[in-house]
């Protein structure tokens, strides 16, 4: 799962669905991988407007890779855009857990596949 996708998912349990405080899911015991991908400036421009920046900062702090620039700085610097591309698109979670900050439910990532299927008592 790409780090971009982590910024677009939240807890899906019955009690957390639709709640802002059930985001972002905290990565735990993760193995990251790099996957080379061509930079697409148009895609990045739209991503800049759509990502949840406070959520992204939280996620990157949790991964121990804090963000070293702001949204405004990226908008004016191609090198930073490339760096953000590398973080969001080229970095994937291969193994690990994603923990809901509200209810602590744990979702698993195995072989790069995140599963959000829930046990019957949580749906």
């Amino acid at each position: 799962m790409k780090l971009l996708t982590l910024n677009f998912v939240q807890c899906a349990t019955r009690d957390c669905a639709g709640r802002q405080d059930a985001f972002p899911l905290a990565p735990q015991n993760v193995q990251l991988a790099a996957q080379e991908t061509d930079l697409d400036p148009d895609f990045m421009a739209n991503i800049l407007a759509k990502i949840d920046w406070p959520g992204l900062e939280t996620s990157l702090n949790q991964l121990g890779r804090p963000l070293t620039f702001t949204k405004e700085q990226v908008e004016q610097d191609q090198n930073l855009l490339k760096e953000l591309h590398s973080i969001l698109i080229e970095t994937t979670i291969q193994e690990g857990e994603l923990v809901c900050p509200r209810c602590s439910h744990i979702y698993h990532v195995k072989d790069g596949i995140a599963s959000f299927l829930l046990p019957p008592h949580l749906v």
Partner: protein, 212 residues
Amino acid sequence: MEKENTHVHQVYDKIASHFSNTRYKPWPQVSKYLNALPKGSIGADIGCGNGKYFTCSPNIVIGSDRSVELIKIALRRSVSTYSDAFVCDMLNMPYRNASLDFAISIAAIHHISTQDRRVQAIKNILAVLAPHGTALLYVWAKEQTNKKIQPENPDDLDVMVPWTTPDGTTYSRYYHLYREGDINIEIKLAGGKLIESGYERDNHWAVITHAV
């Protein structure tokens, strides 16, 4: 729901690779919808199967499907692209609320066996759309002429459709068939607004957004 477990979820995991080999050509109307979006739009493909819509338009698609085996295929397709895929049930989706420019759900909602839950699925799709977002839905039409899918009782809207893999094993998949106008009723019950609708390849389709 047992019906969906046995005749939808389990079947797709078993037929995934054969099913995927027969599903490679984007449907024209879906391609048209995706290519009319502003370039770089980010959205969901709910019930994405093998991810055949990930690369047919210049957009970012975060696909999801109930079948792990189909998601494995979709993830191979998303390597070195901006798109991605994960496993979830469309009745409990993890997409962040109001975050997406668009959503497509092509031939998925008709696998849900009660109207309440089909309406819930449409509600869930609307919930992940940003205020300006739209979604394209495709569901199987009752009016299609393929004899294989017609129920024994002509009035019946719930059918089991066989799928035979190359090794000769036949699985039956559950479908709810939509008559003309049925999807509009469910969209309305879900609190959505119909923008455009039509009929293509034995399916009813509809483009929807939030009712204001």
